[in-house]
């Protein structure tokens, strides 16, 4: 507040006034004292006017605008999606408030809020920018998270399917897949909670595990396609097809790696079926109890219809054949198998399959409908080649 100086009342002023009274008194005009007083009043009013016109009020509305913009950016999750930009806005707003406080503390006519206004404007702009960026980034992260989760779901399903073919008993692969499954669940949960960065992180963790699985499975696959038994498998397949062509009969070729059985009629491919094989997966049967499916060239030696088999229909193979017995004897003489073990038997093509997993004790399983279909073509002596990998099957796709 500006105080007006008191009107002069001292003797000094009175003296000079008196002196001037004599010299400047005019008829009908004011006295010198009055003129002094008027002059002083005029000066005071002019000073007050200048002082008040020069003084500014704080730009509270502009500051509030900036503060509101920062709050809005915070509500728009700028702290999560655009933290640097939000921090800049907060910092500039802090400087604006400090500038306002400093200016407000000055004498009214010395206040200058231009810096405050400029800083508040800058803070608002930064806040609006951080809000916009946060919005854009949230949309992008949400899109990425949803796409990564969808991709992980597919990768996991595909990986489980391939594991069934290549490494059904590999505990490390199973562990990675279970971990990826948990990651997928966590990612889904975070998507529900709209924690998109969290969902993306979990989904990426799952995808990373699946890629590890892929590497393992790929190396398994390469192992089979360059397997030392490949020439034997090729010979077995060619022999089965040759006999089918010669006899004008059907022959079955079971591809263990692809879990696929191809039917050849008169040497030409007729149809293919998905099959379930032994728990031993790609292991080659050596002895009873190893749950592995044998490999070699066999013939059907007995046909059992509905009611004659526990597994709907069954075609009994002549396992163990001469070659299987020789392998068994070699293994026994080398001490590779326990004493008292025997080569086993009762290897069949039977029904109750279609489970999409390896579950038999060494047999090949199809669905009951498929067994009905192939039973029309089967007779005693039908050739069945069981191989680890059928190099002639180009239609399998891999």
């Amino acid at each position: 507040m500006i105080r007006l100086p008191r009107l002069p009342r001292s003797g000094l002023v009175a003296k000079s006034s008196r002196g001037s009274e004599r010299s400047s008194q005019t008829p009908g005009g004011s006295t010198p004292r009055r003129r002094d007083r008027r002059g002083f009043l005029f000066a005071a009013v002019a000073f007050l006017f200048l002082a008040l016109s020069g003084c500014e009020s704080p730009p509270l509305a502009i500051l509030k605008g900036a503060r509101d913009a920062v709050e809005k950016a915070r509500r728009g999750e700028a702290a999560r999606y655009a933290p640097e930009e939000l921090n800049q806005a907060v910092d500039v707003l802090r400087r604006a408030r400090r500038s306002e406080a400093l200016e407000s503390a000055r004498l009214a006519f010395r206040r200058d809020y231009r810096e405050t206004v400029s800083l508040a404007g800058e803070a608002k702009l930064l806040a609006v920018r951080s809000e916009r960026l946060a919005g854009e980034r949230r949309v992008r992260v949400e899109r990425d998270a949803r796409s990564e989760v969808a991709a992980l779901r597919e990768l996991l399903n595909r990986s489980r399917e391939i594991k069934r073919f290549l490494s059904p008993r590999d505990p490390f692969v199973a562990r990675l897949q279970v971990g990826a499954g948990v990651d997928l669940e966590v990612a889904r949960q975070r998507l529900k909670e709209k924690d998109f960065p969290g969902a993306l992180e979990a989904a990426r963790s799952g995808s990373k595990r699946i890629h590890q699985v892929d590497q393992i499975l790929l190396s398994s696959m390469v192992r089979y396609t360059a397997h030392p038994d490949l020439p034997f498998w090729r010979r077995s397949v060619e022999e089965a097809i040759r006999r089918s062509r010669t006899d004008g009969d059907v022959a079955f070729v079971v591809d263990k790696l692809r879990r696929r059985m191809t039917v050849y009629r008169s040497g030409k491919k007729e149809k293919a079926y998905s099959v379930d094989i032994g728990l031993g997966g790609m292991d080659r049967k050596l002895r009873s109890g190893d749950d592995a499916t044998p490999e070699g060239l066999y013939r059907i030696q007995e046909i059992r219809g509905p009611g004659q088999s526990r597994y709907y229909r069954a075609f009994l193979l002549d396992y163990p054949n001469e070659q299987d017995r020789r392998r068994f004897e070699t293994a026994r003489s080398n001490g590779w198998i326990p004493k008292g073990a025997h080569p086993g038997g009762l290897i069949e093509i039977h029904g109750e399959g279609g489970r999409d997993q390896d579950w038999t004790r060494g047999c090949v399983a199809l669905t009951n409908a498929e067994m009905d279909e192939i039973s029309r073509w089967v007779k005693i002596g039908t050739v069945v080649a069981i191989v680890g990998y059928n190099p002639r099957d180009k239609e399998a796709g891999w």
Partner: protein, 199 residues
């Protein structure tokens, strides 16, 4: 007369000295800053984000008031002192909220891990008692692999506890529990189906 003018001048100078040289409330400033630092140490930025922002804002406003008073001829730090006290209280509140929230998250994660461990144990027991045969052997083997995988994932959740990533630990443990429970249910259903078949 001279004497009275001199006395007045001394009085005015003394008054000006006393008023103009008012000191900032350094103790309060230090206390408020220390409280905010303590809140930061308590990870309030992570566990009590809103409270921490409020505290930071309060300290900033208090500091602005101190700076404003420092510019004045006639300083009055009463309001600054009051604001510093508020800032300190806000910082203490943020620190307390951080500790409480963190503790809650830790407890929830611990509970989730304990529940998941129990669920895995229950599934393992159920698996051991499951009927074995040619038809079930493959399924049982897959369940066993899954349980091994779940146990390994639970170890990851426990590691996350060690690095104070309680939310990740809780989420993983909850998922593990769900999957282990699902395995127990499937084994129970298979056993019930088998028992029903025998009738």
């Amino acid at each position: 007369m001279k004497r009275s003018w001199f006395g007045l001048a001394v009085l005015v100078m003394a008054l000006v000295t006393v008023v103009a040289c008012g000191k900032p409330p350094q103790e309060d400033i230090d206390a408020a800053k220390a409280a905010l630092e303590a809140a930061k140490t308590a990870q309030a930025e992570k566990w009590a984000d809103t409270d921490y922002q409020t505290a930071e804002s309060s300290l900033s406003a208090a500091q602005a008031e101190v700076d404003a008073q420092a510019q004045k001829w006639f300083k009055n730090y009463d309001k600054a002192k009051e604001l510093m006290t508020t800032a300190k209280a806000d910082a203490e509140k943020a620190a307390a909220a951080a500790v409480a929230n963190k503790e809650t998250a830790r407890n929830e994660a611990t509970t989730a891990i304990a529940d998941a461990t129990t669920a895995i144990e229950a599934a393992t027991t159920a698996l051991a008692g499951a009927p074995k045969g040619k038809d079930t052997k493959a399924d049982l083997e897959l369940f066993k692999q899954d349980l091994d995988g779940l146990a390994a994932t639970l170890t990851e959740a426990q590691s996350a506890m060690g690095s104070e990533d309680y939310n990740a630990a809780k989420d993983k443990a909850s998922s593990v529990k769900e999957k282990a429970t699902s395995i127990s249910d499937q084994i129970a259903q298979a056993a019930a189906k088998r028992a029903g078949g025998k009738k």
